[in-house]
Amino acid sequence: MTGTLVVLARDVKKWIGRRGVFIVSIITPLIWIAFFGKSMNIRGLIASGVPQNLPPSLAKQIEEFYNEALKRAFGTSDYFTFFTAGMLAVFSVFQSMFSGVSVIFDKRLGYMDRLLVTPTPRPAIFLGKVGATLFRVSILEALLLAAGVALGMKLKPGLSLVDLVAAWLVVMLLALGLSSFYTTLSFYAENQEVVFAVGNLVNLPLMFTSSAIFPVNKMPHWLQVIAKVNPVTYASDLVRYHLIGYTLDNYLLELGVLLAVSLALFTAGLWLSVRWMTSR
């Protein structure tokens, strides 16, 4: 336990100590929300095709029609709200990649050997690295959410503390799975290029084949199959359920799948990482 915390504390201290990196990583979520979310003005896209000088009653009817259509597709009449909730999930995917890079540098600069010649239990080294990522993700996700709300994200009426904690846990669960994956990859990889290459290969498809930016039931059938095994889909859905009042067909099933995928990645990652540390 102490070992885990010391490994974690050192990584966090390094993160905060690097002023530049710290500030950039804090600004990043704000930029994501502001630029991506606001650029995809789906309402404006549909509205632009409608003639301007309609009788007020008809205009109101059309307005209602959009709202209904958007609501059916996105579960809310406001795409930005839908998008921001999805980004909370996607952001933890991208941040998780960086936990890998820290392991690579520790290995290449010889610091990993320093860690390994101490009696620190081997699993604690893995847990500390993953834990540091979860800590970073926690802070950045809170900022992301705050920025989203400031820019017009509409949280569900009657949002409770339980919902906030639940949404946080969902995001943590996703980050746990993915940072386990990237940390393990980094123990075995020779250099940081491998991690970035795998990141490019995995992260964007994870985002686009999930419900993070587009609802799954409006995707072509074959894509839906992929989306249904993608943990980002479930994380996005669950975050939306808790934060913006999205309705889910089966909450427990979605939670179950996310839990299963993340714990599987975590368990396999822990086992493989410890194996790397002990079998050289």
């Binding site: 102490t2 201290k13 050997d113 320093r114 079998s279």
Partner: protein, 326 residues
């Protein structure tokens, strides 16, 4: 317990079949400085990695104060301090933090760790710069910080893997002084080096290692005595010419051998022998008189020099030299 560190027929074969260490055995007695001297790639670092529990021996074992590196790695890790060849301290943290986290990783509580950090930094003459970021340190300070990081949990046994690699003469001497002070404090020290002066200067006993095997072992004096005298090097240039000259000298009763375009003549007293060799000297482009030293011992045993070769991970090497240059 006779040996603080005992290597028992250690073998390490890396995937791909490279025999990095090929049956190494030795015994380091408590309180002595024992050196592994050999060229880069001889198996020194791999041996230290096995003794540090970082690499698992393919076969054989090593006992650290009687504890097996294979069966009781955690116990061993408490007993040893390892100063790696790489500079592992973090540039962006202070010297203090680097040592402090290491203390915590060894299981010291917050207050104990602070006290231990202070002691280790003080001993390494770094207390004055402890609160500065490591990126502002000189090469010598960085090397000392590495030792402080390895000493913080007060291990009885210290491994120093090429501790003065890349340092200037002054920093090297400073570090040698500190290593001697550690010995005075009763530490048992395993030193690996490819600098023969370093091995001679510091060691109680030296094992010469080449191609994964120990080819000679003894005190520096014993090893040098094996040469049987002083040496005269006649640099001929072309290997064939050197061979010819060596066999001519041998036929006249001289102890001569050709190595690498050079003829090496072993004599009791070089200053007195030189005039008698006058007839042969015109064949040489250069003449050098060498007192017995470990470099000569290595040359005698292997027919090769202890020269530097390209390190394996050039990225690490580049980063290290860049950090040392400050």
């Amino acid at each position: 317990m006779e040996c603080a560190v005992e290597a028992r027929n250690l073998v390490k074969i890396y995937p791909g079949g490279v025999r990095a260490v090929d049956g190494v055995s030795f015994c380091i007695r408590p309180g002595e400085i024992f050196s592994l001297l050999g060229p880069n790639g001889a198996g020194k670092t791999t041996t230290v990695r096995m003794l540090s529990t970082l690499a698992r021996p393919t076969s054989g074992d090593a006992l650290i104060m009687g504890h097996s590196v294979v069966r009781e790695p955690d116990r061993v890790r408490e007993l040893i301090g390892v100063v790696p060849q790489d500079l592992t301290s973090d540039d962006e943290m202070t010297g203090w933090d680097n040592v402090y986290y290491q203390a915590r990783l060894h299981g010291l509580s917050g207050r104990e760790a602070e006290e231990a950090t202070r002691r280790a930094l003080e001993f390494m003459d770094l207390l004055g710069v402890a609160r500065r970021k490591v990126s502002t340190y000189s090469g010598g300070m960085r090397r000392r910080l590495e030792i402080a990081m390895s000493l913080v949990h007060e291990p009885q046994i210290l491994y120093l893997d090429e501790p003065t690699l890349g340092l200037d003469v002054q920093s090297r001497r400073h570090l040698w002084g500190l290593i001697r002070a550690l010995k005075k404090r009763g530490k048992t020290i395993l030193l690996t080096t490819h600098y023969m002066e370093e091995a001679e200067e510091l060691s109680d006993r030296v094992a010469i290692i080449d191609r994964g095997r120990i080819i000679a072992e003894g005190t520096p004096e014993e090893l040098k005595a094996r040469l049987g005298g002083e040496r005269i090097h006649l640099l001929v240039g072309d290997p064939q010419g050197a061979e010819e000259l060596a066999s001519q000298l041998s036929s006249k009763g001289w102890r001569a051998r050709a190595v690498d375009g050079e003829v090496i003549v072993t004599v009791e007293n070089a200053a007195r022998a030189l005039p008698m060799l006058a007839h042969f000297l015109e064949r040489a482009r250069e003449v050098k008189i060498v007192k017995p030293n470990l470099e000569e011992v290595f040359l005698e045993l292997t027919g090769r020099r202890l020269r530097e070769e390209e390190p394996i991970d050039s990225f690490r090497y580049r980063i290290m030299t860049r950090r040392l240059r400050r």
